[in-house]
């Protein structure tokens, strides 16, 4: 089966949030509050257990001469965010139940009938995508519309997108399309357009990648996401060191201060151990 991907082009997004709605409807995702945030037109605020597509409203001061906007006006960028479906996925590697799997389409999928809600994927995601739904207890995120893909359909968000900002298709084909698009934008003078796909990082690239204008950090996209699995080696090395030191230390402590017979403990201990032994001589002597 060919690998599929999402290419989300923020220069084509009009901020209509049809993707958010289509995702909720198709996947029957519950609401997560109705509030005015006051932060531009973004009242969703972020991806989470019950938001699998999220349109960001980025108000940017564009670089002069970057084209498209008058230099004295704010640029208003919209970008539909989604689970990145990492090549090396932190959540998938951290999952202790094997609930999170890689599908035949290359997506990262949480099997809801396996997840026991341990919450470890939540801290293993370098993009802050997956979260545990409090009233349900399990972890949820974008399924890459695994059910629709199985049936040969495109994901609900891509289907609903009215401007072609969310493209779905063959992963390699999409990467070529992104290259063509960025060349086109640069030729038009939009030099601040960049592709966000951290292939150089330990995440090894994402199956959902983005074209954004300006600094990806304005979109809360981490410049160099770190795959938590990279930290296992120093961690387990420290475990080996600590375990070794504790075992040897305990053996030495008992070997040096234990006398072969109870009677011997009445004699003064060798220098170094005896000095702190207030209880030694009058300590309880038990049969051994």
């Amino acid at each position: 089966m060919a690998l599929t991907g999402f290419f989300t082009d923020s220069t084509l997004c009009i901020g209509c949030k049809a993707c958010e709605v289509a995702c909720k409807e198709w996947n029957e995702v519950p609401d997560d509050g109705f509030r005015w945030s006051g932060l531009s037109y973004d009242n969703t605020l972020g991806l989470g257990h019950s938001t699998w597509r999220h349109v960001k409203f980025v108000e940017n001061q564009p670089a002069i001469g970057s084209g498209g906007n008058a230099p004295d006006l704010m640029a208003w960028q919209f970008s539909s965010d989604v689970c990145k479906h990492c090549e090396n996925a932190g959540c998938l590697e951290a999952c202790p139940t094997g609930s999170i799997i890689r599908t035949e389409f290359g997506g990262v999928y949480v099997q809801p009938d396996i997840c026991n809600g341990c919450g470890y994927c939540v801290v293993a995601c370098p993009f802050g995508v997956i979260d545990r739904r409090p009233d349900d207890g399990r972890a949820f995120k974008c399924t890459f519309c695994y059910d629709r893909q199985k049936a040969g359909l495109e994901p609900a968000c891509a289907k609903a997108c009215p401007t072609g900002s969310i493209l779905f298709g063959d992963l390699e084909e999409l990467e070529r399309a992104a290259d063509r698009r960025i060349a086109q934008l640069h030729a038009a003078g939009m030099n601040d357009a960049t592709i966000y796909n951290p292939k150089e990082s330990s995440v090894g690239g994402t199956h959902a990648f983005f074209l954004v204008r300006g600094d990806p950090r304005s979109y809360n996209l981490p410049p160099e996401p770190v795959l938590p699995t990279m930290l296992l080696k120093p961690g387990w090395n420290a475990v080996a060191f600590a375990a070794g030191a504790m075992a040897i230390g305990s053996l030495l402590a008992f070997a040096l201060s234990t006398k072969p017979s109870p009677a011997a403990s009445r004699h003064p201990l060798p220098k170094g151990e005896g000095s702190r032994n207030r209880g030694g001589p009058k300590g309880r002597v038990r049969g051994s």
């Binding site: 932060l39 940017n60 801290v123 938590p228 930290l231 961690g235 230390g249 032994n277």
Partner: protein
């Protein structure tokens, strides 16, 4: 989920977008969902694991039988208490057995679940054999001793793996300390095991030496680790490091033991709390310290 209070803060501090502020200063990472059960499990499981190890070391060195007996009790009781704590924190507790559905070396949570299973089995076998041996003439001594040695080996992992569990994550303050946390958790677990044995009435010099060494290491690590100085972190450091060290110098063994136990629990609560605070910190995920500036805004095909 963003609280209403945090939103109000964001509204008040709103300024035109700058990459250094991320996206309206909203957190990039998700907050750890773990509640008090997890640090409590770190504390109980760590103390039980270290107690099994201390008991085995005492047995090899031919120390007092009562100390070995009490160590087995602490290990067995701690293992029995660990499982419910861990299960209580699950979003779907009835599915806890799914933890044993697969074994994944890449997942510290999976390694931990299997370690707890093995440790619980060995620690309770050792305890059971010991109590059988006390009451009957059945030849269970060899089985009990073998189980005790295995519980010591798995107990060492119990006491330290929790450092990898939280260290190998995306949470900045945890991942930064990934190679210190196993030592810190292991040392304070040892201090707790020693303290419990001292409370059980043992005055062996070896325990005092171990308590001393653990408090000294904890004092050093408390000085070395770089955590937000909250009341809990500071108290955890004080009660597991300098205070028991001073109390042991002043020969107040019971007071030192109490302080170590309290510190060991508090430092674990503090580490989980610090992780929650740290998940809101944008400096590391957005590389604002300038270490990774080269990777920003790279385009494909250039």
């Amino acid at each position: 989920m963003i609280t209403e209070r945090r939103l109000e803060e964001l509204r008040q501090n709103a300024v035109p977008m700058q990459p250094e502020r991320g996206y309206y200063g909203l957190p990039l990472l998700k907050e750890p969902v773990w509640t008090w059960e997890i640090p409590a499990y770190f504390f109980v499981g760590g103390a039980a694991g270290a107690a099994a190890m201390v008991g085995a070391a005492a047995q090899i060195a031919g120390a007092d039988r009562d100390l070995i007996r009490h160590a087995r009790w602490i290990a067995g009781a701690g293992a029995a208490l660990s499982a419910p704590l861990l299960i209580a924190d699950l979003g779907r507790p009835e599915r806890f057995l799914n933890m044993l559905r697969v074994f994944k070396l890449k997942s510290p949570m999976s390694v931990g679940a299997w370690t707890l299973t093995a440790f619980g089995t060995f620690a309770s076998a050792a305890l059971f054999a010991q109590e059988i041996q006390k009451r009957t003439d059945l030849p269970v001594r060899v089985i009990g001793d073998a189980a005790a040695m295995l519980s010591a080996a798995t107990g060492l992992v119990m006491a330290t793996y929790t450092g990898v569990l939280i260290g190998a994550t995306a949470i900045p303050v945890w991942s930064k300390h990934v190679s210190v946390l196993p030592v810190h958790f292991g040392t304070s677990a040892l201090a707790s095991a020693v303290a419990l044995l001292e409370f059980a009435g043992h005055r062996e010099n070896a325990l005092n030496i171990l308590g001393f060494a653990a408090a000294a290491v904890e004092t050093y690590l408390g000085y070395k680790m770089d955590v937000e100085p909250t009341i809990t972190t500071r108290a955890g450091q004080l009660f597991s490091g300098p205070l028991p060290l001073l109390l042991r110098i002043a020969r107040f063994r019971k007071a030192a033991a109490a302080s170590s136990l309290l510190g060991s629990l508090m430092t674990r609560l503090a580490w989980i709390e610090a992780g929650k605070v740290s998940s809101r910190d944008l400096r590391v995920p957005l590389a604002l310290d300038g270490r990774h500036a080269s990777g920003v805004g790279k385009t494909i095909g250039e």
